[in-house]
């Protein structure tokens, strides 16, 4: 197992380097130099020359790449052109929002997708199966942004006089403030610990839970439902389809017939004998959904006014703030690679055959 993990880690290094190279190249290909992008019409040669000099942007491209790698290794993603703040600082504010949203979306996808898949496989070819598969097929075909807008309309307008009413925005209710953990508990923190706590505190639901602020938590959760459902629908449909086909395959095997002939209850046969083996490919699929979630977050966050990584990326693009685009794209891609790596490793852990190949 250790050997397998080491091999996978080694294989990830060239991919990570490739990602850095692609992002670096893409941003360098943007017409116009960064100084003019940052200063706009105010940029003149007198101002720009020292600006470019100071940032090493007059060096040859290969030298710039080495300088860039060195910065990255120090954990420095540069400063935003527009806001003048370090990109890493923006990341501490934005990434938790996206992570929390993705986590809830995945929770929805798993909690709905797996039961749907089981039902569909259990009543194979029945109306339940057909209905579930229609839902799944429509689910994968829906544009995330459209689903988000429609959910807003249904739950905030059509159902506004019913208890089912839900807020159309992902941000907290005006007036609801959940202070960071260290303020709630009066801790004196600084440096890396403060950054970590800031990071955690920006996941509002988690922050409220840890601060024992249950009213705040209820508000945070209520605002999370619609974005999470919008974002989680495509993964939900994919998980349902995968669970169904995987379970159907397993249920046709000999040992299931043995289990049935032993006189086990159908429920036990499916849940204990069937599902356990059918879950392997489903686990992989669940992990791979993370990429879809991160990409979908750009759209979901834009619609639900959530200030996460996705919306920051979108805003940075419209504002031509390339340092932020560069940093955020890089972080998303690296996250994606790391998650895929974890999925691969966990798959090898669950299924020893993968390790031996």
């Amino acid at each position: 197992m250790t050997g397998y993990i080491a091999r996978r880690l080694l294989l990830a290094i060239p991919v990570l380097l490739g990602i850095v190279f692609v992002v670096f190249t893409l941003v360098r290909l943007i017409p116009g130099d960064p100084c003019r992008a940052a200063l706009g019409e105010r940029a003149t040669d007198e101002i720009c020359e020292p600006y470019l000099e100071r940032r090493g942007l007059n060096e040859p491209i290969p030298v710039q790449f080495v300088l860039y790698l060195r910065e990255l290794l120090r954990g420095d993603l540069g400063d935003s052109y527009r806001q003048g703040r370090p990109v890493t600082q923006m990341l501490v504010e934005r990434l938790p929002v996206t992570l929390q949203l993705s986590l809830f979306a995945l929770l929805f996808a798993v909690a709905v997708g797996i039961p749907l898949g089981i039902m569909s496989a259990n009543w194979h070819n029945s109306s339940v199966d057909v209905g579930t598969m229609v839902v799944a097929n429509v689910g994968v075909s829906m544009p995330v942004f459209w689903l988000g807008l429609m959910l807003q309309y249904v739950f905030a307008i059509l159902l506004k006089d019913t208890p089912l009413k839900l807020p159309p925005s992902g941000t907290l209710q005006a007036g609801v403030i959940i202070p960071p953990l260290y303020e709630t508990y009066g801790w004196q923190v600084s440096g890396a610990l403060k950054t970590t706590l800031d990071f955690l505190s920006n996941m509002h639901a988690l922050n409220a839970l840890l601060s024992l602020d249950f009213k705040g938590m209820a508000d945070a959760l209520r605002h999370l439902i619609l974005p999470a459902v919008a974002l989680g629908t495509i993964p939900m449909a994919i998980i349902a389809r995968m669970t169904r086909s995987s379970l159907l395959e397993v249920l046709g095997l000999d040992y299931i017939r043995t289990a049935r002939s032993k006189g086990l209850k159908e429920w036990t046969v499916i849940m204990r004998h069937g599902l356990r083996n059918a879950m392997l490919p489903v686990v992989t699929i669940i992990g791979l959904q993370f990429g879809i979630l991160l990409a979908g977050a750009v759209l979901t966050e834009t619609i639900f006014n959530l200030s996460g990584v996705g919306r920051a990326l979108y805003e940075a693009i419209t504002a031509r703030d390339y340092r932020v685009v560069e940093g955020f794209t890089l972080v998303i891609a690296v996250l994606f690679v790391v998650i895929n790596l974890i999925v691969d490793v966990s798959y090898a852990y669950l299924d020893p055959r993968v390790r031996l190949q």
Partner: protein
């Protein structure tokens, strides 16, 4: 393409009688199974309707899709308001209000006509991006698999890097570099989808490269390109078609997303994604302007998904039917 085309013309002549009486081919079988599958039939019907609308958009549209009714004479435009809800006279809408089947948009344009014109864009987007990706992917995959060695390594590692990005994020990054616009968005989505096809082609090249009939060809002195195009690539056709059909669905969704964000098709082009994006803040006041383009995108994507799934099952000889 049928399997007959794979053989050189002289062999076809030699076996002509045998082919004529052969009961079925992979493709004929596949089509038979495809037409027996309910979901595939639904997919094909939806696609048929879409193609019909795309072909006859000029006949089906009631108004010009891109001209706002601001410039037209008072008596024609009388009663037309911005973002009017759908009004169909035979369904009980008052005769005083001008008839707009799907209402009007924020620029006083007939929304139904814009929707009709949008159908062709959806198909063009799907087919051009996937066509582009298949051509380049096949080239990359064939070269990688056939040449092997460092070239194979270089090409496939590059593909790994592209696959390491979530596709929409990389498309967004590429469009940022190229500048917003439909062509650039299509180029970005095309580039991002290349690895899928490259991998498929490379895998099938590797699987038949050492096959006896390829060795026999080589011994007979058949040229490299002929071997590649006549012996090896036909093997990759089945998975390519399936992946391509499903790829069209993804491409349409991604293109709609880019247009929604303002990075793809630019107004006044009647493209469903950008129509949705333009009116997204009106979802509470004029939901029909958001509802219809979304449904259209969904049905289009659904049709390609259903057809792709159906073809995968129909073309898989291992499936027990």
């Amino acid at each position: 393409m049928t399997t007959d085309n794979v053989l050189p013309p002289d062999e076809v002549v030699a076996f002509d009688g045998a082919f004529r009486h052969r009961p079925s081919s992979l493709w004929r079988d596949a089509f038979r199974h495809l037409f027996r599958k309910r979901s595939a039939i639904v997919g094909m019907t939806l696609l048929g309707i879409l193609v019909f609308v795309a072909l006859f958009h000029t006949v089906l549209a009631t108004h010009d899709p891109s001209i706002p009714m601001l410039d037209i004479p008072e008596e024609v435009a009388a009663g037309v308001k911005k973002r009017m809800p759908p009004c169909v006279h035979i369904l009980g809408c008052s005769e005083d209000t001008p008839q707009h089947i799907l209402g009007t948009d924020g620029n006083l344009r007939d929304f139904y006509s814009r929707m009709v014109y949008g159908a062709q864009w959806s198909l063009i987007i799907g087919f051009t991006t996937v066509g582009f990706a298949i051509v380049l992917g096949t080239l990359a995959g064939a070269v990688a698999g056939y040449a092997g060695g460092w070239l194979d390594n270089l090409i496939m590692r590059l593909m790994d890097v592209v696959l390491a990005f979530p596709s929409l994020i990389l498309s967004i990054a590429i469009v940022t570099v190229l500048g917003p616009g439909l062509i650039n968005a299509l180029l970005a989505i095309g580039i991002v989808s290349i690895p899928v096809y490259a991998r498929i082609v490379r895998a099938s090249v590797l699987s038949v490269k050492e096959a006896d009939y390829v060795t026999a060809d080589r011994a007979l002195g058949v040229g490299r390109f002929r071997i590649l195009f006549h012996r090896i690539l036909p093997n990759a056709l089945t998975p390519l078609i399936v992946a391509g059909t499903l790829g069209i669905a993804t491409a349409i969704l991604d293109a709609a997303a880019l247009s929604f964000l303002g990075l793809g098709a630019q107004p006044p082009m009647p493209e469903w994604g950008s129509m949705l994006g333009a009116e997204r803040n009106q979802v509470f006041t004029a939901p029909h302007l958001v509802f219809f383009p979304g449904v259209a995108i969904m049905l289009t994507v659904l049709s390609f998904n259903l057809l792709g799934d159906g073809m995968r099952d129909a073309l898989d000889p291992r499936l027990n039917r």
